[in-house]
């Protein structure tokens, strides 16, 4: 363990002693943040786009680019989630719940800073796990078989449905079930038959998550922005707050040398702002550790990834918080938990990728392709065939965190200015970016139709207080839900007992049952109160 740590620090020194590599990492992280912030352009897509371009690039530069994009992309999604209530990536959907409410109250820049620090802390803990406990994590991840994966998928949809529902909990569950139903539209993995595709060939490969997400989030937001235009007050509130940064104070002080009329800027204010951000994040130590462990665990599970990690972290944070009723109304806790969770999942997802050759998340799956392209064979023999490679990857992620800090400092203010662009200019541009983003992933005109149809459904659902998040999560997890369920009962000749006889599966089963029963009891009580009123 200590040897791993020493190689890890050695690699960090090597990276920072190479200015070219440092600059590339910085640029890639900035690009990742921007890509993540644009609806439809995800970390997965960024890695996929750049992998092909790295064919002739040296190994350390290749992975500096790809890890920079990965770390930046996962964080970047939260920026548009906070500013526009349109998550740039699916993993940022949970952040939008409280983040956008905070932005509406005028704390957009501060919330971006808090989520940035939370992302950095989450990624750091993920990296530490990758360096120190990767063999142990791999062993735990290997305990997950079909029943556990099925229960995890069910658990993800159920908790997401319970958490996000603005109105009745049943609406969250209905949304989750609809998401699952949408995920069933595809070529069946077990029987090899087209399911619910009605002869449309494009439907046989399933409904794309990204076009669906863009439709569900972007179109309703564009409509809502024009409807509420007259009373939209984010800009004014943000201007009242005026948070300051060290970079800005330094810049003003330099410019003051040449100015006749000096502009007031004090390092004290900048320090106070930073202190607030640090205090907000680090006062939630229990929450950080809890969310990081969830992110690491779920990240290490093959195919689960950052999206589920963010939701489970958010739900667990809400359930274990003293302020559980304040969740969803705009509190910093609600943004810290999912950001720590989804960023810790980066380290978590890299563990099985490198030690088993099994990607833990969609971006990690694309990274697997990049590893193959550069003749690196991930698996148990990786440390024998490529000694120090795991430490190099961990060091690159660690350096990407530092790059994220720098990039975040530079980009926080300009990104917040997005809110100051008048709705009549901003929203048509968002619509254009959504169309390009939705199209770019598979370059299919069918995806544009998906954006359009889901945009209309999304708007109706939004009006009727159905959250889009469980639908999207259902769409993501539906395949796993279906395949793992049938895999379990096929291997057990029709018996469903493994769902309750295997310990991890049983734990999930009990939690799901408890969630359903408690929500039903709560719903009945609320309904009785409503009738009495």
């Amino acid at each position: 363990m200590l040897q791993n740590l020493s190689v890890f620090f050695q690699q960090i020194i090597e990276i920072f002693s190479n200015p070219g590599l440092t600059l590339v990492l910085l640029g890639a992280t900035a690009l990742g943040v921007i890509m993540g912030a644009l609806p439809g352009l995800t970390a997965t897509m960024g890695i996929a786009l750049l992998t092909g371009l790295t064919y002739n690039v040296p190994l350390e530069f290749t992975f500096a680019i790809l890890m920079g994009i990965y770390v930046g992309g996962i964080y970047g999604g939260s920026i548009s989630a906070i500013l526009l209530n349109i998550p740039g990536t699916a993993s940022a959907a949970a952040t939008a719940l409280d983040g956008h409410k905070l932005a509406l109250r005028g704390y957009a820049e501060r919330t971006i800073k808090v989520t940035r620090l939370a992302s950095i802390v989450g990624t750091f803990l993920g990296v530490m796990a990758l360096t120190l406990v990767s063999p142990l994590m791999t062993k735990i991840a290997l305990q997950f078989t079909s029943p556990e994966f099925f229960m995890l998928a069910f658990f993800g949809v159920m908790i997401c449905g319970s958490v996000v529902s603005e109105d009745l909990t049943i609406k969250g569950w209905i949304a989750g079930l609809l998401g699952l139903t949408l995920a069933f539209i595809r070529y069946d993995d077990v029987e090899g038959v087209a399911r619910f595709s009605f002869g449309i060939s494009q439907l046989q490969s399933g409904i794309g998550v990204i076009p669906a997400m863009i439709g569900f989030y972007a179109v309703p937001e564009v409509i809502k922005a024009f409807v509420r235009d007259a009373k939209y007050s984010v800009v004014q509130a943000d201007e009242n707050e005026k948070p300051v940064g060290f970079v800005k104070v330094t810049l003003i002080k330099i410019l003051n040398i040449f100015r006749v009329k000096k502009v007031e800027a004090r390092y004290k204010d900048a320090f106070a702002e930073q202190r607030f951000v640090f205090k907000t994040v680090f006062s939630q130590l229990r929450l950080i550790v809890q969310s990081a462990l969830i992110g690491l665990g779920l990240g290490a599970l093959p195919g689960v990834g950052e999206d589920v990690a963010a939701w489970v972290s958010y739900d667990t944070a809400r359930k274990t918080s003293k302020n559980k009723e304040k969740y969803g109304t705009g509190i910093y806790e609600g943004t810290v938990a999912p950001e720590v969770g989804n960023n810790a999942a980066i380290g978590g997802a890299t563990i099985p990728l490198l030690t088993l050759g099994i990607p833990g998340s969609p971006p990690a799956a694309v990274l697997l392709g990049a590893l193959m392209l550069h003749n690196i064979r991930p698996g148990p023999r990786i440390e024998i065939e490529n000694p120090g490679f795991i430490a190099m990857m961990a060091a690159l992620i660690f350096c990407a965190i530092i790059a994220l800090w720098v990039v975040g400092m530079i980009l926080a203010k300009p990104m917040t200015r997005v809110l100051k662009v008048p709705t009549k200019y901003l929203m048509p541009i968002i619509a254009i970016l959504s169309v390009v983003g939705g199209y770019s992933l598979s370059m299919s005109s069918f995806d544009l139709i998906i954006i359009f149809i889901f945009g209309i459904i999304g708007y109706i659902f939004d009006k009727m207080k159905y959250s889009a998040a469980p639908i999207i999560l259902g769409l993501i997890l539906g395949r796993m839900f279906d395949f793992r369920f049938r895999q379990t009962i096929i291997t057990n000749n029709g018996s469903m007992l493994p769902f309750i006889t295997r310990p991890i599966s049983l734990v999930f089963f009990v939690i799901i049952l408890w969630t359903i029963i408690s929500q039903i009891v709560k719903g009945v009580k609320a309904s009785k109160e409503a009738i009495e009123e």
């Binding site: 786009l49 029987e191 179109v219 024009f226 390009v436 199209y439």
Partner: protein, 192 residues
């Protein structure tokens, strides 16, 4: 939407969901029958069927929709909102007009401007002999995006002000070029 109206909408939605669940159930049943009628007995088992999980989910969906219907009904919602005035109000309110325009214009952009019209311009431009090689391949996309943005911006601007028209044209032009350049050239993403 106030709570009373929301519950009335829930009433309608729950019925739609029950119908949808019934449709999914019937489709799943067909898949189940297909599996059970397979000639190979090893494969003709219920738990292998592609319709199994959708069937279970459709039942859960119907139960949930039923529960939603009961809740809405208990809270006093009834089917008493299909009056002429209410329907008229719904179709003439500002939100409906905004939503209608945004969705309608998006449909025209996706299905008409980026569809047959873009193809037509592409064919016309590239049919010109000797100069087709100097026309960037994304010019039709820029043109269509410019039209979309310009109309979108101007609809929500003060049409009496000359400045608003100029700003709309300028922003539409710059954004169209930037999107085409950054996505098409820099990121090498094929544009719609």
């Amino acid at each position: 939407m106030d709570k009373k109206t929301l519950r009335k909408a829930d009433l309608v939605m729950s019925l739609v969901l029950i119908l949808f669940a019934a449709f999914v159930f019937i489709m799943s049943l067909k898949l189940m029958n297909r599996t059970l009628n397979l000639k190979n007995e090893d494969y003709a088992v219920w738990y292998r069927s592609a319709g199994l999980i959708p069937m279970i989910v459709s039942i859960l969906l119907a139960i949930s929709a039923g529960s939603l219907f009961t809740t809405a009904w208990k809270e006093g919602a009834r089917f008493d909102f299909f009056t002429k005035e209410k329907v008229k109000h719904f179709f003439t309110c500002r939100e409906f007009r905004v939503a209608g325009f945004v969705i309608g214009w998006l449909a025209i952009y996706i299905f008409v401007l980026l569809g047959p019209i873009e193809d037509l311009i592409y064919n016309i431009l590239y049919a010109i002999p000797n100069i087709h090689w100097m026309i960037p391949f994304y010019i039709p996309y820029i043109l269509m995006t410019f039209i979309y943005l310009f109309v979108f911006i101007i609809v929500f601007s003060d049409k009496t002000k000359k400045r608003d028209w100029i700003m709309a044209a300028l922003i539409a032009l710059v954004v169209s070029f930037l999107v085409a350049y950054l996505f098409g050239d820099v990121a090498m993403i094929i544009l719609p």
